[in-house]
Amino acid sequence: MSTTASLERTATDPEHRTCPGVAAFVPADRWRLVRLVLVALYAAGYVYWFRRNGIIIDRISVVLSVTILLVLGHVGRPWYRWRRLALDLVLYSAMWLAYEETRGAADRLGFPLQVESVRNIDRVLFLGTDPPVWLQRRFYSPDVVRWYDVVASVVYYTHFVLPVAAIVVLWLSNRLEWARFMRRLATVLVVACVSFVVVPTAPPWMAGGGDRRNRLDALPPVARPTGRGWRHLGLESFVHAWETGRDWANPVAAMPSLHAAFSLLVVVFFFPWVRAWWWRAVLLAFPLAMGVALVYLGEHYVVDVLAGWVLVSLSFVLWGWIERRGRLRRAAISRSALALDFDDSCHIEACAQTDTCAQIESSADRSGVAPS
């Protein structure tokens, strides 16, 4: 059996749980059960809150809820992990609060609101048709809630849970992967925030009538039935929480669509980990469903969705390139260290310069093995 074959064989084994041989010597972390119970209690509390008060949607509450969950998930861990957690949480909070701040910045700096330019790009892409108007004319009925209204609502709201859940799970399970995920997410978020300030864009619901504060008539009337799928499921409080949050969110943060971006980001990130083809199909269908839902619900133009996806793609390409460069550089250092002509006497001489290495040699002497 060749070396490559043996390495590939072990590489493809799906075994990533603790090796029984290791577990025979090292007992499981005694705090693990405590953490699991605490996280389970948190999950139960979250579901209760969800049923009673609706989804946690504003960024400050999201940061607080994530902080509580991460703290519970760190009970019994070493101190250095707590210090790292504190630093990561500060960065994480700064990221979301910066996003929140774009609303004020957009108002202060006064860049012109884009209404027709985005709509015109959509019309060029779809040969003169406005996709949100077209979809609502064919499928939307103000009086009847159909199955796809519910699906669209559910898919839309996953934006407020899925990326945050991915962040928390990665943080608690594998910080290296968490860092990879956060680099990509932060890049998308920073570029999007700049775009929200510089290119404030009216979404279709605003361009097609808007609400009492923002009245525009660039499109035929477009409804914003985002919450009615949840209402249909009996989660009125849930919709109420979202509508409250919506009132002080940035209404012209439409280009690019972060809903579309984050749904694709999560899928692309986790895609290599999924082996079963049906799960892969579900994963791939999710950002597509999100894109269709966003346009159907009048939340975004198609070009907003495409811009979000392009942004995610660029973020992955950029960080993939940077990370690959880092890996190649470290591998080159490693290989060059081993490729150097190595004289054992030089090794001993170099080692003798440090106390530790002196201990190595004296220990070797004591064991009766003569240096060759």
Binding site: A331, D344, A350, S367
Partner: protein, 158 residues
């Protein structure tokens, strides 16, 4: 999920010492692992005791590894494991603790102990076995019994 391999001190010692009986085999395996690392398939781990114990060149050679620092929690955990299993030694104990905490299931090692206890051990090569008690060259014995383990034990000592 990426493949994770722990690199232990006996493997690094064989890698660095041209006179070690397992030097060539270790280089072939390490080259494969580094190739996988370059492709982003594999993550390599070691602990800082290995680097500190084997000198600066080990640090360069292990630049591809995630180095787990020998903090107080790790030395304490290793001590506990060592107390419970007297035959282990601190180096092996620290390696096992890192493997458990980071859920690493493979170890690149020339220490037969791991293989004997059902831990998947590299290298698995034709003509290149993990060293047992009586099938190794004197230089291999030196790196296995002497320099590598005692070095990391020295680092782990409270």
């Amino acid at each position: 999920m990426k493949r994770r391999v722990f690199i232990d001190s006996s493997f690094v010692a064989a890698l660095l010492d041209q006179l070690d009986g397992h030097h060539e085999g270790a280089r072939v395996v390490f080259d494969e692992l580094v190739g996988e690392y370059e492709r982003g398939v594999t993550l390599l781990y070691s602990h800082s005791g290995v680097v500190a114990g084997l000198g600066g060149r080990a640090g360069s050679a292990l630049r591809v590894c995630e180095i787990v620092r020998l903090r107080r929690w790790l030395t304490r955990a290793a001590s506990r494991v060592e107390r419970r299993h007297g035959q282990l030694g601190r180096d092996r104990a620290a390696a096992l603790v890192v493997m458990r905490r980071w859920r690493i299931v493979e170890i690149a090692s020339y220490d037969s102990f791991f293989l004997e206890h059902g831990i998947r051990t590299l290298p698995i090569l034709p003509g290149e076995a993990v060293v047992g008690n009586n099938n190794s060259s004197p230089s291999a014995k030196r790196s296995r019994n002497g320099s590598a383990r005692s070095a990391t034990n020295a680092m782990l000592a409270p």
